[in-house]
């Protein structure tokens, strides 16, 4: 074993013995031989729900506008934090308040749940409360901490708990980080609203993070937001906690406080401290702090600074702030002495969260959440596109397998592709599985559009796949085969799947599940205006097998989806609108003051009878392997 290996083995043994020694986090006795080590504290403040980049940084510098870096955005914050964390596995991500409130629409419209969800994924562990955490009151803050959906007027609010759409847990997951409020007490209990501090242990050494907002919070927040709360002096609060922390063996203490100051210079030196923040509230607080405090991460003024300010003993400690809106991160390296459990040195650097660093890849998962919320901000979801006279469910309404919602969709697809320039279609089919639950509901949703009205959002729920329409030519023989292959095990259909498609108005047929594959379909007719054409007679004979018809289906079906391989024979294909566009356009014909869509009277070509008919009296629509239940 050479010297290097011997040293490595010794270090390994030392580490192993140390890990064994600190197996219990309650044991305040550190290993004697453990050398000093560094902990990385990554801090930021005043995120204010800026999931998207707030723009460039550096207006007040001499850097030309075109050269100023674009900064911020949750996906880049997550990536920069990850990059910093990769430099030191002993790390913690902290904040100094105002993570929510006064936020852009992408967060505020959804009660700042997007802020919390992105902060969770950025990796925040502790943050102080800020004044804006109280904008909507303490109960709402506790909901954001603990999770659960927003309730408005006794009903779940439609803009809360959007996880199913944006890819986050439902109900709203709540903050995985801890909001801290050492100086905010509930007057009813005399206890802090949220924990006063959080503790994280590194190599057996505990570091405490005390979180506070400015005591003047009640003067800058709506009274209802701070009702029942008392805000105490910041420095006195911290100093009173020191004995309690020391009793737990804690000597390393970082204060997270939502209070700040300004530099006196004219340039945005994010690592400067011109004027030493003299006269500012934060300088005053620090000047009263117990010497036990090792660093202060501050905020509130949206300024960036990197200071050393004197505490009550006149010793200078680092005091930082990282601008606002996710533009800057503060990177603090604390050197901890395991023997004393104390901080022996600190290095602080404010770093821009640039978006043009080729070494930084934006966090894809966070980017997806931001993108999904961005899409939800659009007002189109709540727009009424038309109305219906009754419930149109996505379930089968009879033993023949008719489905009201599927009929409407098929009708819309035929309407969209009837004009010569869009396909000259005469028939449309919609696959049943593509009509999503619950179909078109008559009752008003929580959005309050009114009973019978269908919003774009509701329509999208029924047609969420973004399929495009394809109009193709099929012969009468192909059409019969297509209808036959709806039955399990027939003409290439899966042996375990009977799948009925829904035809457009005017197209009717009868099926007999008691017959053999290929002989179940009869009475296929197509009514156009007052003319009814028979494609397949009562005996199941195709009248004119080679006659061609223009048929519209979605691209999933056109590609043989759901086992409809006959559709692959379709020729002269013409791609068209998206299914949701066709549905929207069709529904405008049933928008007030026009009459609502009625499944029984809106289509004259249906002539008041079902489109799909069945031989026999069974009321059970077959599914799975069954063909004649």
């Amino acid at each position: 074993m050479n010297k290097t290996l011997i040293a490595a083995a010794a270090a390994s043994l030392l580490t192993a013995s140390f890990l064994a020694a600190c197996g219990s986090s309650d044991d305040p006795t550190p290993p004697v031989a453990m050398p000093a080590f560094t902990v990385k504290v990554i801090g930021f403040n005043d995120y204010h729900g800026n999931l998207e980049s707030p723009g460039t940084f550096g207006e007040s510098t001499a850097v030309p506008a075109a050269s100023r870096p674009a900064v911020g955005g949750a996906e880049f914050m997550a990536a920069h934090v990850a990059s910093l964390k990769a430099k030191n596995p002993l790390n913690v991500v902290v904040g100094a308040g105002d993570f929510i409130g006064a936020s852009p629409l992408i967060s505020s419209l959804f009660f700042d749940e997007p802020s919390v969800e992105t902060l969770n994924r950025i990796g925040v562990e502790f943050t102080s409360v800020g004044n804006h955490e109280f904008d909507k009151g303490s109960a709402e803050l506790l909901r954001l901490q603990n999770g659960g959906c927003k309730v408005t007027n006794g009903q779940p609010d439609p803009n809360s708990c959007k996880g199913a759409i944006v890819g986050t847990p439902v109900p709203f997951e709540g903050a995985r980080f801890k909001w801290l409020s050492a100086n905010v007490l509930a007057t009813a209990t005399g206890k802090t609203l949220l924990p006063a501090y959080g503790i994280k242990t590194f190599n057996g050494v505990k570091v405490a993070f005390i979180g506070m907002t400015l005591k003047a919070t009640p003067s800058i927040v709506t009274p209802t937001g701070v009702a029942g709360l008392e805000f105490r002096d910041e420095a006195q609060t911290v100093n009173a906690l020191i004995p309690e922390l020391r009793a737990q063996g804690i000597e390393s203490i970082v204060v997270l406080v939502h209070e700040g100051g300004f530099q006196t210079g004219l340039l945005s030196d994010i690592n400067g401290c011109e004027g030493q923040l003299a006269g500012s509230a934060i300088a005053s607080i620090v000047s009263q702090l117990d010497d036990a405090v090792d660093a202060v991460v501050s905020g509130h003024t949206h300024a960036a600074y990197n200071c050393k300010l004197p505490n009550a003993k006149g010793r200078s400690i680092p005091v930082t702030s990282s601008s606002a809106f996710g533009r800057v991160l503060t990177d603090i390296d604390l050197t901890l002495d395991p023997a004393t459990r104390n901080v022996t040195a600190a290095t602080a650097t404010n770093r821009l969260v640039v978006r043009n660093d080729p070494a930084i890849t934006p966090d894809g998962a966070v980017a997806k959440i931001v993108s999904a919320y961005k899409a939800l901000v659009s007002p189109i979801a709540g727009m009424v596109i038309g109305s219906i006279s009754t419930e149109l469910p996505s379930s089968r309404v009879d033993g023949a397998c008719n489905m009201s919602a599927g009929n409407l969709i098929a009708d819309s697809q035929l309407a969209a592709t009837q004009p010569a320039s869009f396909g000259s279609a005469v028939i449309a089919f919609m696959n049943g599985g593509g009509v999503r639950s619950p179909g078109f509901t008559f009752a008003s949703s929580a959005a309050g559009e009114g009973a019978g009205n269908v919003t774009y959002g509701e329509a999208f729920t029924v047609q969420p796949f973004g399929n495009s329409l394809v109009t193709l030519s099929l012969t009468a023989k192909d059409l019969k085969d297509f209808l036959e292959e709806q039955f399990a095990g027939c003409l290439g259909q899966s042996a375990t799947a009977t799948r009925f498609a829904l035809p457009s108005a005017g197209f009717k047929y009868t099926w007999d599940g008691a017959k053999a594959c290929g002989a179940r379909i009869s009475h296929v007719t197509l009514r156009t205006g007052s003319t009814t054409e028979t494609l397949v007679d009562a005996s199941g004979v195709v009248a004119n097998p080679t006659k061609s018809y223009r048929v519209t289906v979605n691209n999933f079906m056109a590609d043989g989806g759901d086992g409809y391989s006959t559709l692959l024979k379709g020729t002269n294909r013409l791609g068209g609108a998206q299914d949701i566009d066709a549905l929207t356009a069709y529904m405008t014909g049933f928008k007030a003051p026009k009459a609502a869509y009625s499944p029984t009277t809106s289509n004259a070509t249906d002539a008041g009878t079902p489109r799909i008919n069945r031989v026999g009296a069974s009321t059970t629509c077959p599914s799975g392997a069954a063909v004649n239940p």
């Binding site: 204010h48 940084f57 207006e59 007040s60 510098t61 850097v63 506008a65 870096p69 990059s83 409130g101 006064a102 505020s108 804006h132 709506t222 300004f262 530099q263 006196t264 210079g265 004219l266 340039l267 945005s268 030196d269 690592n271 400067g272 401290c273 011109e274 004027g275 006269g279 090792d294 509130h300 949206h302 300024a303 809106f325 991160l329 002495d337 004393t340 104390n342 022996t344 040195a345 290095t347 602080a348 821009l352 640039v354 043009n356 660093d357 070494a359 901000v377 659009s378 007002p379 189109i380 596109i385 320039s421 869009f422 609108a577 998206q578 566009d581 549905l583 929207t584 356009a585 405008t588």
Partner: protein, 392 residues
């Protein structure tokens, strides 16, 4: 703690500038970093953060910034406002910054910061008024109305908020009189040089890709003489009739001086399908020539009727002429008023290409297009959508 000694405050910059990495070129971040480092070496300024001297300095910065903004010197204005913001966290400075971003065409940035101003300075109603106006302009009318109603609850009878509410409810909001007062000022500054005193905003138009030509409604063109066009950044150009396109109901005008087009104006590959999401942008026609921000309205494209297409997007009666975008933000055409009593129509990009050539709005080079956000579409429309001004 007493054992904390030798704190090293490192003056470093962006994460982009790791020392171990090769840096063949000086990046913008590095330039910024160096500037910041230099600033750190300067002697400290006045120690008292918000001393009377500092407050005076702030007031002076706001004044010089506003003057620069009124001259559309956006960089200078933003620099002054930003410096003022570093002296005091105040609503008037933030509103000035928001307006500065708008004057520079940065709608999304203005909206994000305007949200903060409105939420953080509840006691200053101008913040809510400005934010609501911007939201409404960008197509978020419902949210804007809710916001302004909440502001009215907080500040009952406040004339600015009441006036904004009234304007937003009208569907054709117009910033005039007190609504142009500082610090909220609900409109851009605009160049009026050469505009006749009797000029009025007759309708809207669309700047073409070159920046030297525009399409406007034919019926709004005077029989002779020039017209003027102005974008949402307040930039003005005199223009003359170049070509009549009677079949489309449009006129092509030649601008005397080019207006900026930020990026290539991509057009939709084909006509938008009926029922697809669309956005129409236009200015409110007013009897004077006040600069304004355009309005975006969202809806669903209408049905085809022979060779013509119904606009589909709900708009109040008006002279139209503004651009129509699809969900991907591609130019889909130009809105036209319907005949009396008839719904609005739109001239499709296919028709425009047929009449004027593919350069009108070429389809994007990559076939794949994806939906984009309304605020991004509105931001690009600030340069593309023109006020058409003619003598009364």
């Amino acid at each position: 703690m007493a054992c904390l000694a030798g704190l090293a405050v490192v003056g470093s910059g962006a994460l982009a500038g790791e020392p171990a990495k090769p840096a063949p070129a000086v990046t913008s971040n590095e330039r910024l970093r160096r500037l910041m480092a230099q600033a750190g070496d300067k002697a400290a300024y006045d120690a008292q953060t918000a001393s009377p001297e500092r407050l005076k300095e702030r007031a002076d910065l706001l004044k010089t910034g506003e003057l620069a903004l009124s001259r559309r010197q956006v960089d200078k204005a933003l620099a002054d406002f930003d410096r003022a913001a570093m002296i005091l966290h105040a609503a008037d400075t933030e509103m000035a910054l928001v307006r500065g971003y708008m004057q520079g065409g940065e709608y999304r940035r203005a909206l994000a910061f305007g949200a903060h101003t409105a939420g953080a300075h509840l006691d200053v109603v101008g913040g809510a008024a400005l934010y609501a106006w911007l939201l409404h302009s960008g197509g978020q009318g419902e949210v804007a109305q809710r916001l302004i109603s909440q502001a009215l609850v907080r500040s009952a009878g406040q004339p600015l908020v009441a006036s904004v509410q009234q304007q937003l409810k009208s569907g054709q909001p117009r910033a005039a009189g007190a609504l142009l007062g500082l610090p909220a000022r609900l409109a851009p500054y605009g160049n009026a040089k050469g505009l006749p005193a009797n000029a009025r905003v007759a309708g809207s138009g669309v700047l073409l890709a070159s920046g030297t030509q525009a399409l406007v409604p034919l019926e709004l063109m005077p029989r002779s003489g020039p017209v003027w066009v102005r974008n949402g950044l307040g930039q003005l150009a005199r223009a003359r009739l170049s070509q009549r396109l009677p079949k489309l109901g449009l006129a092509l005008v030649q601008l005397q001086t080019a207006l900026p087009v930020a990026d290539t104006v991509w057009g939709a590959p084909g006509d938008a399908f009926p029922g697809s999401v669309g956005h129409a942008v236009e200015y409110v026609a007013v009897p004077d020539a006040t600069p304004a921000w355009p309005l975006l309205r969202t809806g669903f494209m209408g049905a085809a009727q022979g060779d013509s297409r119904l606009l589909g997007i709900d708009m109040p009666p008006g002279p139209r002429g503004g651009p129509v975008f699809d969900a991907a933000g591609l130019l889909s055409g130009l809105a036209r008023p319907g005949k009396p009593g008839q719904p609005d129509q739109w001239v499709t990009v296919r028709q425009l290409r047929k009449a004027l050539g593919k350069q009108v709005a070429p389809p994007p080079p990559t076939g794949e297009v994806t939906p984009t956000s309304m605020d991004k579409i509105y931001e690009s429309s600030l340069r593309l959508t023109l006020q058409l001004m003619t003598p009364r």
